[in-house]
Structures are given as structure tokens and as C-alpha cells.
């Protein structure tokens, strides 16, 4: 039911893209590139929420994790003069933030919402407090065009002429889709998220699985943060994640807790942004940008209200696991 609905919309959008491509090649590819670019940090951040929730932990601290790793990535790269070390700094900070969150939300069985809130507030405070001006990245991240594929019409310039993080994001999505649904790890993770008691009975260490998954998800937040400061913006500003960690939650839900679904949702919201700013730039219609920006959130609430029951989070989300 829902799947058919989603497919219909996807097909309509694709047809629309093809049509606009025949009308104006350059505008279409540039708007699509914008959409992909807008989607990349959101999609990686959505994977953070997805891995956590599939394990039964709701993570509203993604925003803070992104901010901290973007900060560490940028200043790490600036201080060491190496983008690679900067990236590692970002991912490492993400892992630390993930472990801190897991310590509170899993090991200490603190309320998961409070743990996430703490991460957000601490990240905002620390990154503003320690922000220092005048740091510059040693280089800009390389753009890697994939031979042959890049020459394809439409998809070539959009998909196959990007920075490394963009490819990484696509690989992460496919990897997680496979991992979650085709491997033992995925089975265990989903079991822990859906029915921890049963998982425990069958010999899965619920607490350990959750701790590890939430920590590793923090590493993904590190990738997204490093992407933001090192590749996408090339700089760091106070509070510059601008709510992307929360949008990522919307995207995760919109994608029905499914990596590929979330990817599609992120692209869809990217497309609305790209089209809206293009309409503004071309002075066609001036849609108040606020309406475009609230779209992901409004649609997510509508979706949750309408298809509640059919789209639902993993059953054990939000509840610390207590052995009976």
C-alpha cells in the first residue's frame, strides 16, 4: 500500500526530471547536483539514527555529534595540515561522542532522550567556547570523476563527478542495507531493537550489541560531520549544522527505518530545496523559503499520522533494556 504510493511518486519525479532535462540540460543537472549535495550529510546522519533505532536506542543527539565531529575534523585538519588526519579526527570524535551517548543511554540506562539532549547542549557549548578564528584547511578535498560513467547523460555529471564523501555515503547506504537485512549482525541488531527479551533468551548480549552499535553509529556521525566541514563547506562556523541532525531524524522516519528508503527521502527533500531556490533565482515564483524548509517536518508528521501502524519504529525503541 505504502510502497505503491512511494513508487508512484518516485516514478512521477523521475519522469519530471527527464522532461526538464530535455528542456534545459544545465539547469536540471545543476539542480540535481545541489539536491544530492544537500542530501549527503542528511543521509549519513539519518544512518546514525537508523542504526541506533534499529538497535532500540533513540538518538536525538545526532545534531551535537555532527557539530562536534565537524569541529574536530576542521580544526584537526587545520592543525595537522592533513585532510586525512582531519577526517580521522572527525570520525574519532564521532566515535567518542557515540561512546559517550552509549555510556549514558545504554550502559547507565539513563533516559535516552536526556542523553541525546545532553550531547546536543554540550556540543553547542564546547564548539562555541573553543572556536578559534583564522584556521584554514590545508587543501580542498579532491573531486573524483569516475571514468566512462561520468560521461553518461544526466546521471554522469550528477552522480559520478563528486567528492569522495559523496561516494562514501552511497556505499554506506548500500552496505547498511545489506548488513541490516542479510547478515547475522543485522538480524541480531533488529532482534535487539524489536524484542530484546527474546534476543536475550536466544543468547544475544543485548547491552553489548546496543553499546557497540550506538558507538559505531557515532563514527558515522563523524563521517557526516567531517563531510560538512572538510568537503561541503570548507570551513567551520558556530552552530553551522543548522538543524541537520534533526532533519535527519525526519528523513529516517520518512524512509521507514530503511537505509535505501531514507536515501530516497533525503534526495526528495534535497530536490524540493534545489527546485525552490532555482525558482527564486529565476524569479519565477517567490515561495517563502520558510515553507520549503518546513516541508520535511510537516510531511513527516503527516506521514506518521496517516500511516501510523503501518510505518512504525522498532518496537523496543526508547526503552533501556532491563533483564527480567
Amino acid at each position: 500500500m505504502r510502497a505503491r504510493w512511494a513508487w508512484t511518486i518516485t516514478v512521477i519525479i523521475l519522469v519530471g526530471i527527464m522532461f526538464s532535462y530535455t528542456q534545459d540540460e544545465l539547469r536540471t543537472t545543476s539542480v540535481l547536483s545541489f539536491s544530492l549535495r544537500y542530501a549527503i550529510p542528511l543521509i549519513i546522519a539519518a544512518m546514525v539514527g537508523l542504526v541506533c533505532e534499529r538497535s532500540g536506542v533513540i538518538n536525538i543527539g545526532i545534531e551535537g555529534q555532527l557539530l562536534m565531529s565537524a569541529f574536530a575534523g576542521f580544526f584537526g585538519a587545520a592543525a595537522t595540515g592533513s585532510l586525512i588526519i582531519g577526517t580521522l579526527f572527525g570520525i574519532g570524535t564521532g566515535l567518542i561522542m557515540g561512546a559517550v551517548f552509549a555510556t549514558g543511554a545504554v550502559a547507565w540506562k539513563m533516559d535516552q532522550i536526556i542523553s541525546g539532549t545532553i550531547i546536543n547542549i554540550i556540543a553547542t557549548g564546547l564548539t562555541s567556547f573553543f572556536y578559534a578564528q583564522g584556521q584554514v584547511l590545508p587543501a580542498s578535498t579532491p573531486v573524483v570523476a569516475i571514468p566512462y560513467l561520468k560521461d553518461l547523460p544526466l546521471v554522469g555529471p550528477v552522480l559520478f563527478n563528486n567528492g569522495l564523501f559523496t561516494y562514501a555515503a552511497i556505499i554506506i547506504v548500500i552496505f547498511l542495507q545489506i548488513m541490516l537485512f542479510l547478515t547475522i549482525w543485522g538480524l541480531r541488531t533488529r532482534a535487539v531493537g524489536e524484542n530484546p527479551s527474546a534476543a536475550d533468551t536466544s543468547g544475544i548480549n543485548v547491552q553489548r550489541t546496543r553499546f557497540i552499535n550506538v558507538t559505531l553509529a557515532g563514527g558515522l556521525a563523524g563521517v557526516a560531520g567531517a563531510y560538512l566541514s572538510l568537503e561541503a563547506a570548507g570551513t567551520f562556523e558556530r552552530g553551522f549544522t543548522a538543524g541537520r541532525g534533526f532533519t535527519a531524524l525526519a528523513i529516517m522516519i520518512f524512509g521507514a527505518w530503511n537505509p535505501v528508503g531514507a536515501f530516497a527521502a533525503a534526495l526528495f527533500f534535497g530536490l524540493t530545496q534545489g527546485v525552490a531556490s532555482q525558482l527564486q533565482a529565476d524569479e519565477v515564483v517567490d515561495i517563502p523559503p520558510q515553507f520549503i524548509n518546513m516541508l520535511p517536518y510537516v510531511l513527516t508528521i503527516v506521514l506518521l499520522a496517516v500511516v501510523a501502524g503501518r510505518v512504525r519504529p522498532p518496537a523496543a525503541v526508547g526503552k533501556p533494556y532491563e533483564k527480567d
Partner: protein, 369 residues
């Protein structure tokens, strides 16, 4: 656990009725927040020390500027007022087992609503004041009710919906202030000033909004503990299944509690507009809603305890700029201190060290961790 009731959250205050609790509860209610605040100050002091400033000087400056003169008192009260309301909003939600992290959104929606009611109408003060205040509360309640209804009837997590509603609220008030409600003939995205008849007065150094906040929190101290409805709130929060068994309508209670919570946050926004700012203007929302979470937890979900908790946060926020003025420490250090406070209040480490015996019992019952 039933999936159609609110998730049970262990926030460390499982005792719903602090006045009836054993001595342990009373000590815990005071000791943990105090120790947490002190610990946060200690860690904050280390940060300050590494910026090359004596932490004791820094804290002295911070408190002196907030509590040194009548102007300081006025500002602390002004800053604490919306915080008491957002703290209460979170507290009411917690009592029913709901996490209202949307106080921020409810507050700004109510703030612009009260501003509109305040400038758009010309009424005598006796009517205008309650009307503008009530309209703001209504906006906040309506905004929160979206989450309440979805929670009660569609079992959608109120955490997710209130996060979404926060973002929508920011965009919405942004739009309203920059287009339909914009003050004409000037460039800023702000509403016109409210009429004098809708302005809350300040008596000497005491803003009337602060007095309202005190009365409201005392009222909720009574309401949650002494009334039937309050009993329903607590029962639903503690065990929705038992509540249902006892004939309490869980759905109705959830919707009502969320609306009350939103109305409280909304009152914070309305009082801020009517008593301090006088209009809705850019940067109206300086994180007031999120401080509410810290305050509610610091108050351990006790409505009356939100008063000292909010005043503490108000003092820190008031003193932050003087800290920069006197020592050069960036005002964001206050955010770090507040985050650490929240961490220590919520984390079991503090309570474990304070109540070793109890902690031992507790950790045993919870299995290895």
C-alpha cells in the same frame, strides 16, 4: 510492556509524590541537584582556568553582577520567568510519562500569537491583558496538542513530533514576522509594539510576569499532588496499564497533559512578549525551551522546585556577559556549565556516590551494566 501506553522512562524520580516519600527521597531531591551543580561549576572552573582566568574570580563576577544590585535582580527575574514556565511545561509532561522537548516551539508560537493579540486589538487593559495572555497560551496549547493527539490516538512518539514541530515553529514564526505580521515601514522582521493595554507592568524591581510564574508553579505544586486530575496524571505516568485498569482514560489524560504543557510553555512566551520584549523580534528565542529541560531535571520533576532551578539558570545567563566584560571569558561557558549540570543530574554516577547503599541495591536489581 504495552505498546499503546507511553513508554516508561526512568528519570530517577520514580517517587511521584515527594511529600510522601521516605527521608531518602527528600535528601535525594536536594542533594543530587546541589552536588550536580557544584560538580558542573568545578569542571567549568577548570575550563576557565585554562583560559588563564582564576575561576573563583570568574564565579564571583558572575554572581555579583547578577545579585549585586537591584538592576541585577530585575534582570535575573526577567530571565527566570520564561524559564520557570518552560521548566513547568517539561515537568507536567514528565509526570504523565511524556517528554515534551517542544517547549521551544510552543513558546515562540505563543510569543508571536500574544504579540499579534497585543498589537492588533485596541481594548481596555482589563480585557486586553487576559486576552493576549490567554491567546498566547492557546497557541502554545494548540501547538503541543498536535503532538498530544498523535501520541494518544496514533501512538506516534511525542519526542519525534515535538522535534518536528520545533523546526516547523521556527520557520512559521519567521514567515509571520517577515510577511503578514511585519511592522510596516521598517526593514526588520518583527511585529509592531503591543499596545500599552496589553503590556505587563514591572513593579519596582519585580516584573509582574515573575509573580505570575511563581503563582502558577505553586498552583501546579498543589494541582499535581492534591487534585484528582493531578493524581490521574501521575498514575498514567507511572503505569498506564494500571491507570486504564483503574478506569482512567489514558488517551484523554495524555491529550490534556500535553495541552497543559503547551499552555505553560506558551504562557512563558506570552509573558516574555508582554512583559519584557514588547513585540516579537528577531532572535527572540535564545534557547529558552531547551533550558526548560535542564530546569525540569534539576527540579526532579517537582513543580515548585522549578523556581530555584530557573532562578539559578537565570543567574548564570544574566552573569554571562559580565563575565566576558570583566574577565574576557566567552559567555558560552555558561552553556557548558548547564550541559554539565544536566549530565550530572541525569547520570546515575552522582546519585550512586551519594547513596552508596541504595545504589548497590538498585544496580543489583538492574543486573550488570
Amino acid at each position: 510492556m504495552s505498546s499503546d501506553g507511553p513508554a516508561q522512562t526512568d528519570l530517577g524520580f520514580t517517587d511521584p509524590n515527594p511529600t510522601l516519600g521516605p527521608k531518602y527521597g527528600v535528601v535525594k531531591a536536594f542533594a543530587i541537584p546541589i552536588v550536580s551543580v557544584l560538580l558542573a561549576f568545578a569542571v567549568g572552573g577548570i575550563l576557565i582556568y585554562f583560559q588563564g582566568v582564576n575561576p573563583f574570580t570568574a564565579y564571583r563576577v558572575l554572581f555579583e553582577s547578577a545579585l549585586g544590585d537591584s538592576d541585577g535582580y530585575l534582570r535575573v527575574m526577567q530571565k527566570s520567568t520564561p524559564l520557570i514556565f518552560t521548566g513547568l511545561a517539561v515537568v507536567v509532561g514528565l509526570r504523565v510519562g511524556l517528554f515534551n522537548i517542544g517547549a521551544q516551539g510552543q513558546l515562540i508560537v505563543a510569543a508571536i500569537g500574544a504579540a499579534w493579540a497585543g498589537y492588533h486589538f485596541d481594548l481596555p487593559a482589563v480585557v486586553h491583558l487576559p486576552f493576549a495572555l490567554g491567546f498566547g497560551m492557546l497557541c502554545g496549547a494548540a501547538w503541543a496538542s498536535i503532538a498530544g493527539v498523535l501520541r494518544a490516538y496514533r501512538n506516534v512518539s511525542e519526542v519525534i513530533t515535538t522535534i518536528m514541530l520545533n523546526s516547523i515553529a521556527i520557520a512559521l514564526v519567521d514567515y509571520l514576522a517577515s510577511r503578514p505580521f511585519k511592522e510596516p515601514d521598517q526593514p526588520l522582521s518583527r511585529t509592531p509594539l503591543i499596545s500599552d493595554s496589553a503590556a505587563l507592568a514591572t513593579f519596582g524591581v519585580i516584573p509582574s510576569g515573575f509573580v505570575i510564574a511563581l503563582i502558577v508553579s505553586l498552583f501546579f505544586g498543589w494541582f499535581l499532588i492534591r487534585t484528582t486530575e493531578g493524581f490521574r496524571f501521575n498514575t498514567v505516568g507511572l503505569n498506564p496499564n494500571a491507570a486504564r485498569y483503574a478506569g482512567i482514560s489514558v488517551k484523554r489524560t495524555i491529550v490534556l497533559a500535553m495541552a497543559v504543557s503547551g499552555a505553560l510553555a506558551g504562557m512563558g512566551g506570552a509573558v516574555e512578549t508582554m512583559g519584557v520584549v514588547g513585540r516579537f523580534e528577531p532572535a527572540f528565542n535564545a534557547g529558552l525551551g531547551f533550558d526548560g529541560i535542564t530546569i525540569a531535571l534539576l527540579a526532579r520533576a517537582n513543580p515548585i522546585a522549578t523556581i530555584p532551578a530557573a532562578i539559578l539558570v537565570g543567574i548564570l545567563r544574566t552573569g554571562a556577559n559580565s563575565l566576558q566584560f570583566e574577565t574576557g571569558i566567552e559567555p558560552e561557558v555558561v552553556d557548558v556549565i548547564l550541559a554539565l549540570t544536566l549530565l550530572f543530574v541525569a547520570a546515575p554516577i552522582v546519585s550512586r556516590y551519594i547513596f552508596r547503599i541504595n545504589a548497590k541495591r538498585k544496580s543489583k536489581s538492574k543486573g550488570r551494566s
